[in-house]
């Protein structure tokens, strides 16, 4: 179910009209998607789900409560308002309560594509058919997922704020495996515009990697020079900036960004000078939602500039308390790229590894953002400027903070998708990195 802006505005107005609270906010999120899921060169579960969710948050003084529902009928909306007000009245006062925002200025959204919203299940199947045919021809087993979706969301307050955002997303990921179980390859990314999808080309990359990665050799764990493809980079950058860049945690002394003796590392050179990461709701490569937490406008925010820690996410209460401007959560992430191609990175590597993607990344130590996880679906040994052999997977134990001090070269930023990503539209370059810590070998293929 996709609401129009006018429908959402009318529902918001209706809810605010029913509200007896001192202030109230109404957020709506709905979506429609279609997907084809395939494995072993055939379709498995294919669907067309539809969703809607409306949340009403009521405030009496510093008391707050919320109620969420999926029914837009008049009696259900009245019940939702009642539930949120009952919830608020029974809550103790929250000294950190911040009143809802009034009208704000927003960028014009650029994250919607009509071709994606119009995509049919027939079109999805037609896009996947060549991937499966190619896999059969090359005697590999292809498994993958193609999803097209449209999401509409809105945020309104009793103080006169109303904003909405409509976006589309196309996700295609494909894994190819050789029948002997010794080779696996992967390709995947997101698009805003369905007409740009070239699933067959992604199938070719995955198939090629699967065939070339057969019968890998085991290398000793240790520190390696690595070329990380965009999926792998997106996981590490997404976790670092999306989850660890928190001003309050830094100020409270429980973050990598805490300064010894107190305060945060804002303004200090924490990363290599070639590292710049920012968010921009109108980024041409990865546009995102035009609003963020509490309906705050999403704006261009530089998180790291030439290695200097420039901004950490900061909620409105903490910003007020520490006399800073709030920094809302990012709605998109971009790591500025360079001009080195992957082929050039390979050529300049005496001994190193090419890594396709990561899997099952978890934080081991929040103090250093030490992360562990595994390589997956294509690791190749590079010697004297050439890929020479496929290599068994590794477990890594590596902090992205330390890694971003050892970036030797970068490719151009590309839209990317990692299974461990935090769900934001993200664009990152392929990275050539020194001393990446691989701590044990995995037998998994």
């Amino acid at each position: 179910m996709i609401l129009s802006e006018a429908d959402a505005q009318a529902i918001t107005k209706k809810v605010l009209g029913l509200s007896q609270a001192e202030s109230c906010v109404v957020s709506i999120r709905c979506g429609e998607s279609r997907h084809v899921r395939y494995a072993q060169n055939m379709a498995t579960t294919n669907g067309a789900p539809s969703s809607i969710e409306i949340t009403v948050e009521s405030h009496f003084g510093k008391q707050s409560g919320s109620a969420t529902g999926t029914d837009l009928s008049d009696d259900a909306l009245a019940a939702l308002v009642s539930a949120s007000e009952n919830t608020a009245k029974l809550a103790p006062e929250n000294p950190e309560f911040m009143p809802p925002l009034g009208p704000q200025k927003y960028a014009t959204g650029t994250a919607f594509s009509a071709s994606t919203q119009a995509a049919t299940s027939d079109q999805l199947a037609r896009a996947i058919l060549p991937v499966l045919k190619q896999a059969q021809d090359k005697n590999v087993q292809a498994s993958g997922f193609l999803e097209v979706g449209t999401t509409f969301s809105s945020f309104g307050s009793s103080k006169g704020l109303f904003v909405s955002n409509q976006s589309t997303n196309v996700l295609h990921t494909v894994t190819a495996r050789t029948p002997d179980g010794t080779g696996a390859g992967w390709a995947g990314t997101t698009y805003q515009d369905f007409s740009k999808l070239d699933a067959a080309a992604m199938g070719t990359v995955a198939t090629d990697k699967a065939v070339k990665s057969q019968k890998p050799i085991k290398l000793e764990p240790g520190k390696y020079t690595v070329i990380l493809e965009p999926s792998a980079v997106s996981d590490l950058i997404g976790i670092l900036v999306g989850e660890e860049f928190d001003q309050r945690a830094a100020d409270e002394g429980r973050s990598f960004a805490t300064k010894k003796g107190g305060g945060s590392l804002l303004g200090e050179t924490v990363f290599g000078k070639n590292v710049t990461i920012y968010s921009d709701p109108n980024d041409p490569l990865v546009p995102g939602s035009i609003y963020s937490d509490d309906g705050q406008p999403a704006q261009r925010t530089v998180w790291i500039e030439d290695g200097v820690l420039k901004n950490l996410q900061c909620g409105r209460y903490w910003a007020d308390k520490t006399k800073r401007a709030p920094v809302p959560s990012p709605t998109t992430l971009v790591m500025k790229g360079g001009t080195t191609t992957t082929e050039e990175m390979i050529k300049q590597t005496k001994r190193g590894l090419l890594i396709t993607r990561f899997w099952y990344i978890r934080e081991v130590d929040p103090q250093t953002v030490l992360l562990t996880g595994l390589t997956r679906d294509g690791v190749f040994l590079i010697e004297h400027g050439e890929i020479v052999k496929p290599v068994c997977n590794f477990r890594f134990n590596q902090s992205p903070v330390a890694m971003l001090n050892k970036v030797i070269a970068m490719g151009p930023a590309l839209r990317a998708y990692g299974e461990e990503s935090i769900g934001l539209p993200i664009a990152v370059p392929t990275l050539l990195v020194d001393d990446f810590a691989l701590s044990s070998v995995s037998d998994a293929v």
Binding site: T45, P92, T173, G181, N397, D443
Partner: protein, 521 residues
């Protein structure tokens, strides 16, 4: 249908703290006849559209979430999520569609959409799906529970959370968080086979954490609570000593800051069940899922080393190792009468590992025949009204040692080892060989005695080697039911609640890392 029961309690529910009583009443506008009618519409449209099989699931999830940080309530939220999904099998190809609008017209449209999706996907159907016959059930199943958490006054729950944090702060924590999440899941299932099944169950999910800071060194340490989520009423919350644990946790977090950093190397490990349940989940639960073995999760959750040729042959672990799957265990997050394929699941326990030997997979419908077996063993689950049921874990539990054996008995036979409690970070490869687990609390074992606290511990291992190194196991008196509310699998990704029973166990010569660094090679 049981949802109506709440509406009948309406006059007193507001007093009792049921803040969304009106919303429940509105959501209860469909009685059993209304649901049967919608099911008839869906199954009729599916049949006339040529589907050889179809099912209709109408679900409602009532939720409550309360979170306190230090001395204040940070969030109080209540919710109802309701909707339906129709699944059709058209000439061996699946299609499904879902919607939050449970009206006849919308059910017709969604069923037509499911048929359209299946038809469009047929060119991709290299091999047609064939389903086994599933017995027909017309039944209702309700999880037994003493105290409905949604009928407990909200200020009681908030007061408890604030008291937990207060106890932690008094004991020296710099920061403390505590939260309760409650879910009531109500499902109505109707299939073209003729089954009509209504079910309800409740989950309670407490979480706590304390943090202490050493400003001089810039170091900090946290200690998360050891209480597991459960399929239970509020009696579980009432019966757990959260306040006592919070105070202890603050003391232990302070001790962690001063604890000795572990020297990496090979150690004997004694793993407490508050820790071991997760190792079981990752290294036994997931590898023995048949959809992974068939390659259906190859693009996301992964495949498994446990391929069908190993069934009945692989010595997965030592002879002490017995792992049983059930959907009947009291408190189990996977405990339910019927799975989401309509297969009876309660009271149908089966072994996965017997005396160390791998003997069974977990299966959903349409899978058993692919490994020469006859029927599903009731392991399908869909995480919401809008999801497609896929194979998910039942409760998968390590059985106690039939001989008397205490935790102290296990420790007494260790010369140089570590005792680990609670879950820290966890990670395992996509075929479930190589894993790494942290924990919440680590204690040195020297010459059979528990010693001082250690910090910065994680262990790595390979599944089969690790389970074959197990040479000690606690008895029934040491049994603990752990679990997770959010196990991820499938595309689009679904999160499933699952429990794992465990007893303390001893493993020999496991590789231990020191994690106090920015990289470990």
């Amino acid at each position: 249908m049981g949802g109506c029961a709440c509406a009948t309690l309406l006059p007193s529910t507001l007093f009792l703290g049921m803040r969304n009583a009106q919303a429940i009443e509105v959501a209860d506008k469909l009685d059993l006849n209304g649901k049967l009618n919608l099911a008839g519409v869906a199954l009729g449209v599916a049949k006339s559209g040529g589907a050889s099989y179809a099912d209709f699931r109408l679900c409602r999830y009532q939720t409550e979430y309360l979170e306190a940080r230090e001395h204040r309530l940070e969030e109080s939220a209540t919710g109802i999520s309701a909707g339906f999904a129709v699944r059709v099998l058209l000439d061996g190809t699946w299609g499904y569609a879902s919607s939050p609008l449970a009206t006849e017209d919308e059910v017709k449209l969604a069923t037509q959409r499911a048929l359209e999706v299946a038809k469009a996907s047929q060119p991709l159907q290299l091999r047609k799906f064939v389903l086994e016959d599933v017995p027909v059930y017309q039944d209702r199943w309700d999880m037994p529970m003493k105290t409905d958490p949604f009928l407990i006054p909200v200020d009681d729950k908030i007061g408890k959370l604030l008291a937990i944090n207060e106890a932690a702060m008094k004991a020296g924590a710099d920061y403390a968080t505590a939260s309760f999440a409650f879910v009531r899941e109500e499902k109505f299932f109707a299939s073209s086979n003729g089954s009509r099944i209504s079910q309800s169950r409740v989950r309670v999910m407490p979480e706590t954490e304390v943090t202490v800071i050493d400003k001089a060194t810039g170091k900090f340490a946290s200690r998360a609570g050891l209480a597991a989520p459960r399929g239970s009423g509020y009696e579980y919350i009432l019966g757990y000593d959260f306040i006592g644990e919070a105070a202890k946790a603050a003391e232990q977090a302070k001790e962690k800051l001063q604890a000795k950093s572990v020297v990496p190397g090979d150690y004997d490990l004694v793993l407490d069940p508050t820790h071991l349940w997760l190792t079981i989940h990752e290294s036994v639960g997931h590898p023995t899922e048949l959809d992974r073995a068939l390659g259906w999760e190859a693009n996301f959750a992964g495949t498994t080393f446990c391929t069908p040729d190993k069934l009945g042959k692989l010595q997965y672990g030592s002879k002490l190792m017995n792992i049983v799957a059930d959907r009947s265990q009291e408190g189990g997050l996977s405990t339910v009468g019927y799975d989401d394929d309509g297969v009876r699941s309660v009271g149908t326990e089966f072994p996965i590992i017997q005396n160390g030997l791998f003997v069974n997979y977990q299966m959903a419908i349409g899978q058993a025949q692919l490994i020469g077996q006859k029927t599903s063993n009731g392991c399908a689950f869909a995480d919401s009204w809008s999801s497609f049921p896929i194979q998910r874990m039942p409760n998968v539990s390590l059985q106690p040692n039939p001989k008397t054996c205490s935790l102290d008995d296990l420790i007494s036979d260790v010369k140089r080892g570590i005792y680990i409690m609670g879950n820290g970070s966890w990670s395992i490869d996509q075929q479930r060989h190589n894993f790494q687990f942290g924990g919440q609390l680590f204690y040195e074992i020297k010459n059979g005695k528990l010693g001082r606290m250690l910090r910065d511990v994680a262990y790595q291992g390979s599944t089969v080697e690790f389970w074959n190194s197990m040479d000690g196991l606690g008895d029934q008196s040491t049994y603990f039911l752990g679990g997770a509310p959010n196990c991820g699998k499938g595309q689009p990704e679904q999160t499933a609640p699952v429990s794992h029973g465990a007893v303390p166990a001893r493993f020999r010569q496991v590789t231990v890392l020191n994690t106090d660094r920015k990289e470990i090679a």
